[in-house]
Every structure is written in structure tokens, then in C-alpha cells.
């Protein structure tokens, strides 16, 4: 066997070195609003007649992957696409509720591409690239056009025009929505476009197939190793370029709003093969989730942020006030967001709302079981708008809440608590969405690019679709045009054989341990550790403790895990265990990144770095950069490459939502 | 077009719906004709004779009647063949049942298949009994329908068979009429209640109308 899981002590891992800074992100120079046009114009094109000869692998079928696969196939490329679900329609983008931003300015409320650009850079706490964010804002308007043309049933007004609503962190109404199921509707649009290409024979779709490793030949990404989850067969697929659209890694925390099978294996394996990992510690904790009910909890359910438009968040003023909410008089309630941030009130960005909830709960004023919750109250909205109107806007969310908690939110205020929701970090990509492995692209949540240290609501759908429909198809074209002749590589190529052997060995090793703990028990353990020390607030002591524990858990995992069954069949325990292998490494990098970034910014709150009144204190002089980490081996210190962030248009200020 | 319709489950259902509605229209006329028995032998026999002379002098004697018979026979065959083929398809599509059984759908819905078979068998018996006269329990006299009906329903088993079949007919129409409307795309959320009411009224009227005859004979109102 060639796999020798490497164990090490934390001090060795934490002693990272700093390598060459990243000088060129390939963003064109010139005025920011002309850069995307320039990039497209300068891109080389592949002759339409030659496109059929190029094969592109797309892993994942969410908003980013689905839209990319469909668009590349429409352009004439041969696409091989993968998803672990039984159908491409089930990717977790489907669960996004609230909406999608676009600078259409249909409301005439002062919105513009410039404002969306500004809001997103500011919302990301000045840790995103201006060039990327501006491009995103520009493309946002085309996305809405595209989706409407596909038949996405956005909410409309009586005149037949599109309706919009406002979302956290902004003061204009630019969020397009389809009740509480915007992600579902957008995903079905992409899925339908993809289905058309599958039927046309332009996309070879492999459902229930999971990517387990990346094949890099002569320094270029040339294919993947994947496991057919039904038969257990390990297959290799080769192509001229590989696109990862495999989503985020929030499931490192065990409990998150991600789907149960969402995982980090594709991006982590790519990282191990040379792709740098950008800002791994930037995770978003969403403020409005349903609190957990007990140890059996397998996942957390988000309630759309749009609820904060009309719901008011409060806790009792007094500690340990256990009266039922309806018996607490108005003057004994603390509407703390409205008190602390009068101009944004309940609509402050997610990181701020989440931390404020944590603070009041830490003070002992939390509500519900274990004091881990705050009220989200619709009594005022129902009084003001009438129950019917509230039902129209949020009916399905209220139903969902009642189904899970058995409490009726029309009568009793909802209880909410923050939960891990989204990862701003991901594979480092340049302006072309290409990773540091040539030919390997990462799109959607899988990359780190556009949201900086905090993502604004309704921006994930925008980014996923921008990447898939518009950005990648243009930049991938350029890459393929510049690398027109790939040598064919077959299954007997030494690199392919080596990667396949490593994959098979890893799975066999997992089956061979035959220990006394279930895979889930390890997942739970690493998740709790990460939530405790790398969650909503982080400090040096905690992070060092986590860095000490993780290698121990990893060592124990390889000694004690028990995976029943064989590799030659549908084996969900094996799938799970193999994903945990990667979480146990990724968690370490997240903690190290959090440890090294001794500032507070966005979703990353370092307790050592706060203002006297407890707000996050950013340190622009020291940390205005993207941390791109290079892998050097399991448990061995990674190399940090810094990409300096330059702000020419939106000048960093301490964010204020007061 | 015929090919598309016949090859598709949706099309075949449309064939069933149209043929069923043709039979339903006929049954309404048939029932109204039957009720003439309460106005005496003269009127009833006269009506029966008229059926053979309708359309004269343009049509020859019995031509119209045969035309109706041909249309009806075609409807019966189309209805039965579609039903048979669809049923086979349905059973093949669901080869395995659940271990945990629970009652499903309404009674009228569940009895469509076997109800249809019963009605088919009844139809054969009914034709042999009162049209051909071969299985008629008493002496069958061609051209004297009133006498034939009275003698028929003077036998208990004729009554049992007939009344049972008419109850089955009622159930069949109850789901069938509503179902045909859905199949032909005539249903909607607002019209659903109206369609169900019409289906129930039709089922009730036809059953009552047809059953009135044997009951009339049994009670001596018709003799």
C-alpha cells in the first residue's frame, strides 16, 4: 500500500512558511468597469468547428456547475459532467431560499452597478478583489434576463413586471425572488438547460458518481478519478480542462445548513495536487437558523434572511427570564439590533447579526432550550400588514418552521440561532477563475473569489450563475485556445495509474481498519471542535488547542474507524468515511488560517482584535491580502502565499451599520 | 394522429373518455325510452317500433337503428380494448405491491376495472335476454317488448342480475363521467365541484331510472 497517513504534532504544522507573493491575478488594468470587456476581447477564441474536439470535465451540477455545463455544451464543447446525487436537479443550490441580487434598478431607488459593486466590497469587509466584484455586479443584470428567458417563475406584481425585495446589508430593493424557493427555481432553470444538452448528446452525465481525485499530467489538470457510487467501480475520465463546481466545505462543522452529503473532497484533493486554498477560515455563520433540539441533530435548517425584512429580533432585557414570550411586556424586551444599529436595524449584514445573537446568549439572555436562541417576532408585521399579507410573503417558511418545531410562528415568536451556512474561502482562483493548477478551474462556492470575508444575502446565487453562465465560458475558451493540442492520455498512463492506485488504497485502508467507532462519531467530534474554536469567535488559545487536537483525532480515526461492507457496492458508510478523511485535514488548515489572521474581519472574528465597544477591528495595514495556502503534505506546515488587495475605487473604512 | 392517440396512454384514455360519453348519451336515451313502460303496452311497443322506422323515408327500415348499433358496438369495443390494454400496462408498471397495505382511493374509483367487466358481461346477457331472446327466462316474443320485459322481470334472478348491474353502472358512471372530463381536459379547480355533482346526479338518475322498471314489474305497477 502506498498510503501512509501522516501524523504530526501541532507545532510542526503551525510553523508555516511564507512563500512568493502572488503578483499577477490576470485581471486587466484600466478603469474597473472596462476590465471585463477588455478581458473578453483579449481572450483567444476556439474556432466553433474545433470545439467538439475539446472535452471539459465539470464536477457538480449546482447553480455554477449546471449553468457552466449547459453553456459550454451550447458553445459546442464536449462536456463530461458528474454529481454524487441521483439527479443533477438535487444539488444543494436548490435549498437557497431568499433571492438573487441584480442591479436592475427597476425600483428607481438609486441602485446601479456601481452601488452593487460598492455594497459587495463593503459587505465583504474589504477582503475581496475589486475587479472580480465589479464584474459580478455587471453580469448580475444579464443573469435575470437569462433566467426569465428560461422560464424561471420569479415573483411578479399585478402589472406583470418582476417584484423585488430588500436584503441584509443594503438599502435598496434589488433582490429578485421566487417565494422562499429562489434557489430551487434557478437551479431547475440550469438543470433544464443542462438536460437539453444531455438529450442533444453534448453532455455525458454521470449521476451517483463522486470525484475522488484529480489527475495532473505535465503540470496541467487533465482528468479526474471518480467512483461510481452504485457499483463501487473506480474510473478515470480525461479531458482538456477540469472545472470544479463542488460547493463549499461548511460540513467540516458537522452541523451546518449544507446538505448531508455536501463535502470538500473534490477541492481538498485538488488542493493536495497543487491548487492553493484561499482564505480557508472565512466561513459564514447565518443568523437565522432553527436552533438545535438535541444530540440527535443531523443538520440545521436555515430560515431565509428575508424574514428579517418584517420580523423583529429581540431577547428579554433581564438574564434568565423564562416567561413565555407573549407574557414579556414591551418595555422588558431588548430589540438589540435596532438599539445597536439604528440605521440598518434588523437588516445588518449576517456576520454582525450572528455575533450580536451570540453576545446576548453569552450574557445569559438567550431563549429556548439551553438558552441558545433569540426571538424573531412577527407580531408587529401581522398587526401592520395583516396575517394574509404576511402569509403571502413568508407562508412556506412559516410552515417549514412549524413542521420542524411544532410551534406556530403566527402566534409565538420564532426562535432562531446562528449556524454555519456558507464558506467564503475556497480554492484560490485568478480573474479567469483558474486555480494555480493550469487547466483546473473552480467556480461558485468552491472558489474563494468574490465575497471577501463576508457574503451578503442573495449574492451566492448571483455569483454561482455569473461564474457558470458568463465568466467561465469566456475564460475557459481562452485557455483551450492557448492549449489546442493535448496529447491523449489513456488509463495506462503512469500518472493515471498512480492516482487510481492511491485512491483504491485509501478506500481499502478505510475498509480494513475495522475499528470500534462509526465514521459519524468522528465527524461529530471534529465538527464540535471546529464550532467551539473556529466558529463565531476565535482566539489564539482556542485555535492552538484545536490544532493540537486535530492530528490526534486523525490518528485515532485511522486506528478506530469502522466501515462495514465492501467497496464494490453502494456503501454509504464508505462514502462518508472517505469524506471525513479530507475534513480531518481541511479543518487543520482552517484553524491555521484563523490563527495567522490576527485581525477581525467579516465572518472571522478574533477576540483579540476588537474595538472598545466590542465591534470587529480590521487591520488593513497587516492583513489586506488574500491568504493562499500551498499544500506540502498531510500534517506538515503549508506555505502561505499572499495576494495583496488593492482598493482603487472603494476605500476601506471601518464598516458602520449604526 | 390516430397513431399518436392510440400509442399514448393519454390518448388511449381520451378514447375511453369519448367512447364512454357516447355510451352515456345512449344510456340516457335508453332510460327515457324504458320509462315509457309506465304508460302502458301500447305506448311502449309503439316506441319500440318507431326505433326501427326512424329516418324514413330517407333511411330504410331499421337502418338508423343499425347505425346506432354499429356506433355503440364500436364504442364498446374501443372502450373495452383500451381498458384492457391500459390495465395490462398499469399492472406491469407496478409489479410489486407494498407489504403494508392500506385502503386507497374511493370505492367508485377502485371498482372501475371489475365494474367494467361486470357491465360487459351484463351487456351480453342483456342482449341475449331482451334483444335476441335466447336466454330469456320465459317465452320470448319478437316484436312484443312490453310482454318480454314483464315476463323477464317476473323471474327473481333476472331482477337480481339487472339491479346489481345497474348499481355497478351507477358507480362506474360516478367516477367515469368525472374522470372523462379530466381526461378531456375539461376539469379545473373551480369547476371540480360542479363536475362531481353532475357525475353524481347522472349516476343516481340513470340507476334509479333503470331500476324503476324491474321494481315496477315486481310491485305490479307494470303488468
Amino acid at each position: 500500500m502506498t498510503v501512509h497517513p501522516n501524523f504530526s504534532d501541532s507545532s510542526r504544522y503551525a510553523a508555516y512558511t511564507t512563500g512568493e507573493p502572488i503578483a499577477d491575478t490576470k485581471a486587466p488594468s484600466g478603469p474597473v468597469h472596462e476590465r471585463w470587456d477588455r478581458r473578453r476581447f483579449e481572450a483567444k477564441l476556439v474556432n466553433p468547428a474545433n470545439r467538439r474536439r475539446h472535452t471539459v470535465i465539470v464536477v457538480g451540477t449546482g447553480l455554477a456547475g449546471g449553468s457552466a455545463g449547459a453553456t459550454l455544451a451550447e458553445q459546442g464543447y464536449k462536456v463530461i459532467q458528474f454529481c454524487y446525487q441521483d439527479s443533477p436537479r438535487r444539488a444543494h443550490s436548490i435549498a437557497a431560499q431568499g433571492g438573487i441580487n441584480a442591479a436592475k434598478n427597476y425600483r428607481n431607488d438609486g441602485d446601479s452597478i456601481q452601488r452593487l459593486f460598492y455594497d459587495t466590497v463593503k459587505g465583504g469587509d474589504f477582503r475581496a478583489r475589486e475587479s472580480n466584484v465589479h464584474r459580478l455586479a455587471q453580469i448580475s443584470v444579464e443573469i435575470i434576463d437569462q433566467c426569465v428567458a428560461q422560464g424561471v417563475p420569479f415573483a411578479r406584481e399585478y402589472g406583470g413586471l418582476l417584484d423585488t425585495r430588500s436584503f441584509g446589508g443594503v438599502q435598496v430593493s434589488r433582490t429578485f425572488y421566487a417565494r422562499g424557493q429562489t434557489g430551487q427555481q434557478l437551479l431547475l432553470g440550469a438543470y433544464q438547460a443542462l438536460s437539453r444538452q444531455i438529450a442533444a448528446g453534448n453532455v455525458e452525465m454521470h449521476a451517483r458518481t463522486e470525484m475522488l481525485d484529480l489527475i495532473v499530467v505535465d503540470g496541467r489538470a487533465r482528468g479526474i478519478v471518480a467512483r461510481d457510487l452504485v457499483t463501487g467501480r473506480i474510473d478515470t475520465y480525461v479531458a482538456d480542462a477540469v472545472v470544479l463546481a463542488t460547493g463549499g466545505y461548511g460540513n467540516v462543522f458537522y452541523l451546518s445548513t449544507n446538505a448531508m452529503n455536501s463535502n470538500a473532497t473534490a477541492i481538498w484533493r485538488a488542493h493536495r495536487r497543487g491548487a492553493y486554498f484561499g482564505n480557508p477560515c472565512f466561513t459564514q455563520i447565518h443568523p437565522t437558523c432553527i436552533p438545535r433540539t438535541g444530540d440527535h441533530q443531523s443538520k440545521l435548517t436555515l430560515m431565509s434572511e428575508s424574514l428579517r425584512n418584517d420580523g423583529r429580533i429581540w431577547v428579554p432585557k433581564a438574564k434568565g427570564d423564562h416567561r413565555p414570550p407573549n407574557e414579556i411586556p414591551e418595555q422588558e424586551r431588548d430589540y438589540y439590533l435596532e438599539r445597536l444599529y439604528p440605521s440598518f436595524g434588523n437588516l445588518v449584514p449576517r456576520d454582525i447579526a450572528s455575533r450580536a445573537a451570540k453576545n446576548v446568549c453569552d450574557e445569559g439572555r438567550g431563549v429556548g432550550p439551553g438558552g441558545q436562541g433569540v426571538y424573531l417576532d412577527f407580531a408587529d408585521a401581522i398587526r401592520r400588514l395583516g396575517r394574509k399579507k404576511v402569509e403571502e410573503k413568508y407562508g412556506n417558511l412559516f410552515e417549514m418552521y412549524e413542521r420542524i418545531t411544532a410551534e406556530n410562528p403566527y402566534e409565538v415568536p420564532m426562535r432562531i440561532y446562528p449556524a454555519v451556512h456558507y464558506t467564503m474561502g475556497g480554492l484560490w482562483v485568478d480573474y479567469d477563475l483558474q486555480t494555480t493548477v493550469p487547466g483546473l478551474f473552480a467556480i461558485g462556492e468552491a472558489n474563494f473569489s468574490d465575497h471577501g470575508a463576508n457574503r451578503l444575502g442573495a449574492s451566492a446565487l448571483m455569483q454561482g450563475l455569473a461564474d457558470g453562465y458568463f465568466v467561465l465560458p469566456a475564460t475557459l475558451n481562452d485557455y483551450l485556445a492557448r492549449h489546442p493540442h493535448s496529447d491523449a492520455i489513456g488509463p495506462d498512463h503512469p500518472v493515471v495509474q498512480e492516482v487510481v492506485a492511491e485512491t483504491e488504497d485509501r478506500l481499502n485502508l478505510l475498509l480494513a481498519v475495522d475499528g470500534d467507532r462509526t465514521p459519524d462519531s468522528f465527524h461529530r467530534e471534529i465538527g464540535e471542535l471546529m464550532w467551539e474554536y473556529c466558529g463565531m469567535a476565535r482566539n489564539e488559545a482556542g485555535l492552538r488547542k484545536a490544532l493540537e487536537r486535530i492530528p490526534q483525532i486523525r490518528e485515532e480515526f485511522w486506528r478506530r474507524v469502522k466501515v462495514p461492507g465492501t467497496g464494490e457496492e453502494l456503501n454509504q458508510s464508505l462514502e462518508k468515511a472517505n469524506r471525513i478523511v479530507d475534513y480531518l485535514e481541511l479543518a487543520e488548515l482552517m484553524c491555521l488560517d484563523a490563527l495567522h489572521r490576527t485581525e477581525s474581519c467579516g465572518g472571522h472574528f478574533r477576540e483579540e482584535s476588537q474595538t472598545p465597544d466590542g465591534e470587529a477591528a480590521r487591520k488593513d495595514d497587516a492583513f489586506s491580502y488574500v491568504a493562499a495556502w500551498e499544500f506540502t503534505g498531510t500534517g506538515s506546515a503549508p506555505v502561505l502565499h499572499k495576494e495583496d488587495l488593492v482598493f482603487e475605487y472603494v476605500h476601506p473604512t471601518q464598516r458602520s451599520y449604526a | 394522429m390516430a397513431r399518436t392517440v392510440w400509442d399514448s396512454t393519454v390518448g388511449k384514455k381520451a378514447v375511453m373518455a369519448v367512447s364512454g360519453l357516447i355510451m352515456l348519451l345512449y344510456l340516457i336515451a335508453h332510460m327515457i325510452g324504458n320509462l315509457k313502460i309506465f304508460f302502458g303496452a301500447g305506448e311502449f311497443d309503439h316506441y319500440a317500433h318507431w326505433l326501427r322506422t326512424v329516418g324514413e323515408p330517407f333511411m330504410h327500415y331499421e337502418w338508423t337503428l343499425w347505425l346506432i348499433r354499429v356506433v355503440l358496438a364500436a364504442a364498446v369495443v374501443a372502450h373495452a380494448v383500451s381498458a384492457y390494454q391500459l390495465s395490462r400496462l398499469d399492472l406491469r408498471a407496478r409489479p410489486r405491491t407494498y407489504v403494508h397495505k392500506r385502503p386507497r382511493a374511493g370505492y367508485a374509483t377502485r371498482t372501475m376495472r371489475w365494474g367494467g367487466v361486470i357491465l360487459g358481461l351484463f351487456l351480453v346477457w342483456h342482449l341475449l335476454d331482451l334483444t335476441a331472446g335466447t336466454v330469456h327466462p320465459g317465452t320470448f316474443r319478437p316484436g312484443h317488448p312490453y310482454r318480454n320485459v314483464v315476463s323477464d322481470f317476473s323471474h327473481w334472478y333476472s331482477n337480481v342480475v339487472y339491479i346489481a348491474a345497474m348499481l355497478a353502472l351507477g358507480l362506474h358512471i360516478r367516477h367515469g363521467f368525472w374522470s372523462a372530463a379530466q381526461t378531456l381536459g375539461a376539469g379545473s379547480r373551480t369547476r371540480d365541484r360542479a363536475l362531481k355533482t353532475v357525475a353524481n346526479v347522472l349516476a343516481l338518475l340513470l340507476t334509479a331510472g333503470f331500476v324503476a322498471v324491474p321494481v315496477g314489474v315486481m310491485t305490479g305497477v307494470v303488468s
Binding site: 451550447e74 427555481q185 | 393519454v10 407489504v99 374509483t109 379530466q182 376539469g187
Partner: protein, 249 residues
């Protein structure tokens, strides 16, 4: 709570299956049905037995992966998905039967996992609007009456779970197919392919081996998203209209 589960176990597509009985204890009413199965599986793994395989992913009622027939009902006694069914819907001491979707077009892969790729092929046959990226007109160029937009949305809500097929005594996929046909056919953007869409999708549905519709209404009762039975009626109308128009051409 303490419960007795009788679960369908089947090694693979070719193997014979059977119902196996398991006792589970310490079940909280706040658990979801799948969390209850997680509890059972954790125990089975430690006992060296193979855990029960079942499809699941988002666990918030929207991805459509979960697919269990519980006590003879698709998704169990509440009108929701299996993942959103909570144990408070059961009583201490209950015996619960858990089976996979049953339909010829949904062959069992293992235990409670079935192959629903037939649904994907129905969509591939025409469940889309041809609008290649980049070709879209300005979104406000074509207003859509609110009633039509709402109608489209109500049908677009289908999550493709297959409960309609599982509940139908004929294993028919009419509710699934009609939901997509109606979603796209009512919109002005869907008009150019209105006829081919319904004809091709119905033809594919038949080719996959789904049964015909006898309007028992079981599908609409089982649908966790409340797609109404009239959806089928409207598709029938679309189909007949398309057939007439195709004949005239």
C-alpha cells in the same frame, strides 16, 4: 420512545429482498424520521452489520432525494417529505413499516434506494425552454400576468421526489410530468415549444414504463408540495390540443 421497525432490506438490484425487524429505543419526538434511522444505522455499524441504505441529502424538504414509503404511505402520515417528518407523528410502541418506492420504472438499487433516472429522461425529452446563454431579451420585455406567473410557480415547485409514482396504484408519472408541462406551457417564454414539449414528454413517460392515469388522486394526496390533481387535467388538455395542431400541420 421505543419502536419496532420493519425495514425492506435488499442487497442489490438483482437480489431478493425481505422485511427485517429492528427494535429502536431512546427515540426523541423531536427527531426527524431520518435521524431516527441514523440512530439505527449507528448501532448496526457498531454491531458489524450493514446499515440501511436510503437516499437523503438536504434534509430540509427541497432536494427531493428522500423517498420512503412509511406504513404504506409515500413519505409517511404527514403531507411532507420523509426528512421533514418528525417522530412526534408516531406513538411509543408503534410498529413502523419502511419500504422503498415501488414502480417498474423505479428499480430498487439497494435497501430503500431506488433509481429515479426515468424522471431525468422525461425532462430531457422536452422539459425545458430553449434559451441558450446570451440570447435572452431584457427581463421586462415580456410582462407575465401575475396569475400566470403564480400558476407557473405552483407547478414548478415539484421536487421530483417520485412520491406521486410511489403512491399511484398504476405506477404512473402523470403528476410529475404534468407539473413541468404546466410550469413551462403557461409562460409566454414557453410558447414556441408548447406542443412539442407536451407530446415528447408524454411519449417519454410512456416509454419509461410508467402506467396510465386512472385519476385515483393518490398522487396529489401524497405530493409533499401540493401539486393539484388538476395539473393532470391541464396536461391532458395541452396534449389533446397539441395532437390536434400536429395533425393539422
Amino acid at each position: 420512545m421505543k419502536l419496532t421497525l420493519r425495514v425492506w432490506r435488499q442487497k442489490n438490484a438483482g437480489a431478493e429482498g425481505h422485511m427485517s425487524t429492528y427494535e429502536v429505543d431512546g427515540i426523541s419526538p423531536d427527531m426527524s424520521f431520518l435521524e431516527m434511522l441514523d440512530t439505527l444505522n449507528e448501532r448496526l455499524i457498531l454491531q458489524g452489520e450493514e446499515p440501511v441504505a436510503f437516499d437523503h441529502d438536504c434534509r430540509e424538504g427541497i432536494c427531493g432525494a428522500c423517498s420512503l414509503v412509511i406504513n404504506g404511505e409515500a413519505h409517511g402520515p404527514e403531507r411532507t417529505t420523509t426528512c421533514q417528518l418528525h417522530m412526534r407523528s408516531f406513538e411509543d410502541g408503534d410498529v413502523i413499516d419502511v419500504e422503498p418506492w415501488r414502480a417498474a420504472a423505479f428499480p430498487v438499487i439497494k435497501d430503500l434506494v431506488v433509481d429515479r433516472s426515468a424522471f431525468d429522461r422525461i425532462i430531457q425529452a422536452g422539459g425545458y425552454i430553449t434559451a441558450p446563454t446570451g440570447s435572452a431579451p431584457e427581463a421586462h420585455a415580456t410582462p407575465v400576468p401575475k396569475a400566470d406567473a403564480d400558476y407557473a410557480f405552483e407547478h414548478a415547485e415539484c421536487i421530483g421526489c417520485g412520491a406521486c409514482v410511489a403512491a399511484c396504484p398504476n405506477g404512473a408519472a402523470m403528476l410529475f410530468t404534468s407539473a413541468k408541462v404546466n410550469h413551462l406551457n403557461v409562460l409566454p417564454q414557453g410558447a414556441p415549444e408548447r406542443e412539442t414539449r407536451v407530446l415528447d414528454m408524454v411519449a417519454q413517460m410512456d416509454a419509461e414504463g410508467f402506467g396510465g392515469c386512472t385519476l385515483t388522486g393518490e398522487c396529489a394526496t401524497a405530493c409533499p408540495k401540493g401539486i393539484p390533481l388538476t395539473s393532470i387535467t391541464h396536461m391532458n388538455k395541452e396534449w389533446l390540443r397539441a395532437t390536434r395542431k400536429a395533425a393539422r400541420r
